[in-house]
Amino acid sequence: MVCQECGKRPATLHFTKIVNGEKTEFHFCETCAREKGELIPGTSNGFSIHSLLSGLLDLDPSGKGQTPGAKMAQTLQCEECGMTYSQFSKLGRFGCSSCYKYFSDRLDPLFKRVHGGTSHVGKVPKRTGGRIQIKRQIDELKKELQFRIVQEEFETAAEIRDQIRELEKNIAQG
């Protein structure tokens, strides 16, 4: 296979990007890959998942090019560590855990592209995460409640409603 950039040298670097089932393939020779400045696995200045990601981060979620929203993103900054959104999109890495809070509005499209989902459903720290576990339990019960009401099983529904109230009281008391 010949490099898709110069069309002369053999392509030695191949990568496939699959985003939500949409597949894009790249085939470069080493020289062109270096010039493009985003390749060669394992070297410090080379291609990394971060530089690949930064391509995704620069994408405007509205898909309409430079919008006021995108301009605002340039000045978006984490007040905790000082990292700006544009630094983040270049590095592909957050500076601290607060970045997640300050960039929050921009992260859903990114996470959707990378992971397909935007919310954590897995493990929760035992010591500090008790509240979240109760919240998840409440969400489950609410779904169950809806189902019982539709089924017209009102007695069971009432029991579930009481359980939800009890759990909500627990949360309110901390």
């Binding site: 670097l13 890495r93 500076g95 855990s97 919310s119 493990k123 720290p125």
Partner: protein, 354 residues
């Protein structure tokens, strides 16, 4: 030469064991990424802050009854070992190149048998890795989550209700979990089914990459398959997904091997024997050829065509023939051509002893 015990032997003690389907799955690895609350990620941490991270995390190891099951734990500070030892630790997959070359206050905690490697101040403050021989994804996750619980009992992690465990790279957020299996798939490569299978794998949220090779090239027919998604799935879903996909690949590889034996036994025997002969007598051997020939011999042993070296010996050779380890054995500062000569010598001697 340093007295760092972990870089004297090529084969980690845990790799001497065998696990399920260890003729195809060489090893299983699970890692979880965690960060401490209220401290910037290593990318932006000051030396003082990364020092604090190191101090707080190693303190957990002291007087911990919960850690008894893991035996003696050794803390190795990267600043206290030489470049060659770092290189060998990377070749043994005990630390990442990133920890070796770029970390500040970087350290690794190893168990006696090297089956647990805990990296501190890598891209995240804490990365717990558990390694198992053969195909043991569930077991590796059980162990990693148990270790995670020990740290969590003393450390406040950076955790968010919505996003889960917060990590420096957005590709790890949520569970912070990366599970992978290293597979030897020579028959799928020979029968040219590999690309079809690998592209199918990438459709189900998993990624594949070659080991020891660069780019998409897989040296020695070794492939690493791992989950790509860390957010929006539970750990159990991630583990089961990898488990069931890996099982299917194992099945395909087994079928392909059976077909090779049935249709072209003579051809495959010839290939295995030639490679064994070359490895046993060659005077010069570059790393690419070594990887391919070792793969042939491993396949020959698996198929019973060769009463050759035991699988642990083959695993050992994969690491021993890497540049860092060769320098460790034969002295630093050798020219690449000398390296190829020493590689050939080392393989000859290792095979001759078995």
């Amino acid at each position: 030469m340093s007295n760092l015990r972990f870089t004297d032997t090529a084969l980690s003690e845990w790799m001497r064991g065998t696990g399920q389907d260890s003729d195809i799955v060489i090893s299983t690895r699970v890692r979880v990424a965690r960060n401490l609350q209220h401290l910037p990620f290593p990318l932006l941490a000051t030396d003082q802050q990364s020092g604090e991270v190191l101090e707080r995390l190693t303190r957990v190891l002291n007087d911990k009854e919960d850690l008894q099951d893991f035996g003696d734990l050794h803390v190795i500070k990267l600043s206290e070992i030489d470049e060659l030892d770092k290189k060998v630790l990377v070749e043994k997959h005990l630390i990442s190149p990133n920890l070796a070359n770029e970390s500040r206050n970087g350290a690794v905690i190893l168990t006696e048998d090297e089956s647990v490697s805990i990296m501190i101040n890598e891209e995240d403050h804490l990365r717990i890795q558990c390694l198992y021989p053969g195909f043991q994804v569930r077991e590796a996750w059980e162990r990693a989550t148990a270790l995670d619980d020990v740290f969590e009992s003393e450390i406040d992690y950076a955790f968010d209700d919505k996003r889960g465990y917060l990590t420096s790279c957005p590709t790890n957020v949520g569970t912070g979990l990366r599970a992978s299996v290293m597979m030897h798939l020579p028959a799928l490569v020979m029968t040219q089914q590999i690309n079809r299978i690998l592209s199918a794998v990438s459709q189900v949220g998993l990624t594949v990459r070659g080991i020891y090779g660069e780019g998409s090239e897989a040296l020695g027919n070794l492939f690493q398959i791992s989950n790509q998604i860390t957010l929006g799935q539970t750990e159990a879903e991630i583990i089961e997904n990898l488990h069931s996909v890996a099982l299917q690949i194992i099945e395909h590889e087994k079928n392909a091997r059976a077909r090779l034996l049935g249709d072209s036994k003579l051809r495959i025997t010839d290939r295995v024997m030639r490679s064994y002969g070359i490895l046993s007598y060659a005077a010069v051997m570059d790393s690419k050829e070594a990887a391919q020939r070792l793969s042939d011999v491993r396949l020959g042993v698996d198929l019973g065509l060769l009463e050759g070296p035991e699988i642990p010996v083959m695993n050992e050779l994969n690491v021993k023939t890497q540049p860092g380890f060769l320098q460790k054995t034969f002295g630093e500062g050798m020219h690449p051509s000398e390296r190829d000569m020493y590689r050939a010598k080392l393989i000859r001697e290792t095979l001759g002893n078995h």
